[in-house]
Symmetry: C2
Subunit: 356 residues, 2 copies
């Protein structure tokens, strides 16, 4: 079934389905069967046991028309390319070793624009203390920045699997602000001179959209404190939660610890714990935006989503700023308790590049 | 001077000049000043001292219109993306740890074409025994494959610097065949059914162009045998030789071991040692192609170019198939002795993506 050479185009499948297709193709290959690679394709980063350390690597390709809003400066594009990759290291709790940047640029890009992109990249490298190791330059039809970040951990990194009913679902910060920022930028009155708005929530949201920051230190603290499960919010809270459930199920299935139908863990989150201010509600109402949709289905917040046993909550609170937004339940579902008390199933669709 | 925001486009500079621009921008940055990164931007790969090993990383972005001739199959595109990255590891003498592939694809690419690209990538991974660790997928206007290969060495890897007058310049194989292959593919009678030509040199050249192989084992053997200087031929023999001279000069300047004007090493190669068969000459004559230009200025051969003290030549000959093509001289020049005895300065221009 899988190998049939049908004539459908790749846009008929989601990005996730395409990745599953690659995983299936790779299953028969010798080069994917080594023990030391315990996390081949699927988590935020890959993990290689190397000497007595865990080598953590990740690669993200950012493409102008998808990842860089028109209002984003060249400097911010460069900085964001570093952030997107560092955020994956953060989600594993990794320390930084270096980053490679391969970049495609159109020929009539101005030299000062070229400089701005690299000033942004280098400022990002400085900010996260991750040296620019090298890369490649090419001419292309649009701006394309592929970063590959390399880091390491001294102990097993945080993965997407390994939680139990009763565990708490936590966030290092708020979600939905980048989404609001993107919406504001679509509107003429906010597209320019953003800092002159003198409105905290507007400035904050637009800044979250244009100059996101990865939670690198927070990730490292979490791993230090023996947190086992984490991911970063790039594709939207909804799809990241679904991805945690899937990874956990896959892990226990592949270790033959359960059969397909007996997987019974689920996630319940609470709308009111997503902690949105009245300012946010006011703005989203003004523009007819769906607050919950922005929080659940639009990504780019680069916060860390992590899961902890409830007994360490109090201890962790003293070390790190975070918010509990839900818990693991013993029913295989993904649901949200709305502010009005209603229970709803959560859509698992995050932002999807290939869907028409 | 460097920071002026002039309005020139990047196509006014060579790729090399753009990279020098990045290096200058990075010089003031904290994150580039760490001792353990002894090779920031410039060699084939970057090198990080990690535990008691040398971690070797490299990233290459391949873009359809530049790197994949029309006649190249989707399978071959995938395989070549792996080869291009592995070749950089080979040039350092590295053992493989893994590869990440980030890929941009147009939306109407067929699923069977998508499968073919990844079958090629996975076949490449198997061939070089380098596991596919992960990556990213995106939709883009053309096919773009960025690979990042990760490897390691137990001792200092082969670099582009550190040779002396009298040392021999060597090649693991012949150069100019990929170039001939590309030329043949432009001609209708060779563009299809290549294997039916039943002509060794035609098949060989076309195969070199469409399905190049990195000299991974050869690179590892060279490092094992304590060879210190190597690079791979991707941009053309002429520019790779120039790059060796430049790196060597830069290395000795940065270590304050010489002043700018006292650098007096040069390279002399010999046309007749480039070892071209009469078949090759016949074909290139038939199509009015400049044999030497193809050998010196067109890359993609993926052979390893290395430099050894003359005293180890005999020993090395027993372990590895290679050819001496010239030597290091004590005059700062880059020259070729033609078959007719004339001495000519070598053009340093390799293939250059951004030049109009």
């Amino acid at each position: 079934m899988f190998m049939d050479s049908n004539n459908k185009s790749i846009s008929s499948l989601s990005e996730k389905s395409l990745i599953e297709r690659i995983i299936k193709l790779s299953e028969s290959k010798n080069s994917t069967l080594k023990d030391e690679y315990f996390n081949l394709i699927g988590d935020d980063c890959s993990v290689i046991l190397f000497e007595d350390k865990y080598l953590i690597t990740t690669s993200d390709m950012l493409i102008q028309k998808h990842h860089f809003p028109n209002e984003m400066s060249f400097y911010n594009m460069g900085f964001k390319a570093v952030t997107a990759n560092v955020s994956d290291l953060a989600s594993m709790g990794a320390k930084t070793l270096g980053i490679l940047i391969s970049i495609g640029l159109y020929k009539d890009l101005k030299l000062n624009e070229f400089d701005e992109i690299f000033k942004g990249i280098l400022a990002g490298c400085d900010f996260y203390n991750i040296p620019l190791l090298g890369g490649d330059t090419n001419d292309a039809d649009e701006i394309i920045i592929t970063g590959t970040a390399i880091g390491y951990t001294d102990k097993k990194p945080m993965m997407k699997y390994g939680f139990n009913p009763g565990d708490l679902i936590c966030l290092t910060g708020k979600v939905g602000f980048a989404a609001l920022g993107f919406e504001l930028l679509k509107r003429e009155e906010y597209a320019n001179n953003q800092s002159k708005q003198n409105n905290d929530i507007i400035d904050y949201s637009i800044n979250k959209a244009l100059n996101p920051i990865a939670k690198l230190k927070e990730g490292q603290i979490l791993l230090d404190l023996n947190v086992k499960v984490a991911t970063d919010i790039t594709d939207g809270l909804g799809s990241e939660l679904a991805s945690l459930l899937e990874s956990d199920k896959k892990y226990y299935l592949s270790n033959n610890q359960i059969d397909e139908n007996s997987y019974s863990k689920g996630i319940r989150i609470y709308e009111e714990k997503l902690d949105i201010s009245s300012d946010y509600l006011e703005l989203s109402d003004k523009f007819g935006l769906d607050k919950l949709q922005m929080q659940l289905n639009i990504g780019e917040d680069f916060e860390i989503l992590f899961i902890i046993p409830s007994k360490i909550k109090e201890f962790l609170t003293k070390q790190l700023d975070f918010k509990v937004i839900g818990e693991i339940i013993d029913k295989n579902t993904l649901e949200i308790v709305l502010s009005n008390g209603d229970l709803e199933n959560l859509s698992t669709n995050g932002y999807d590049h290939f869907k028409c």
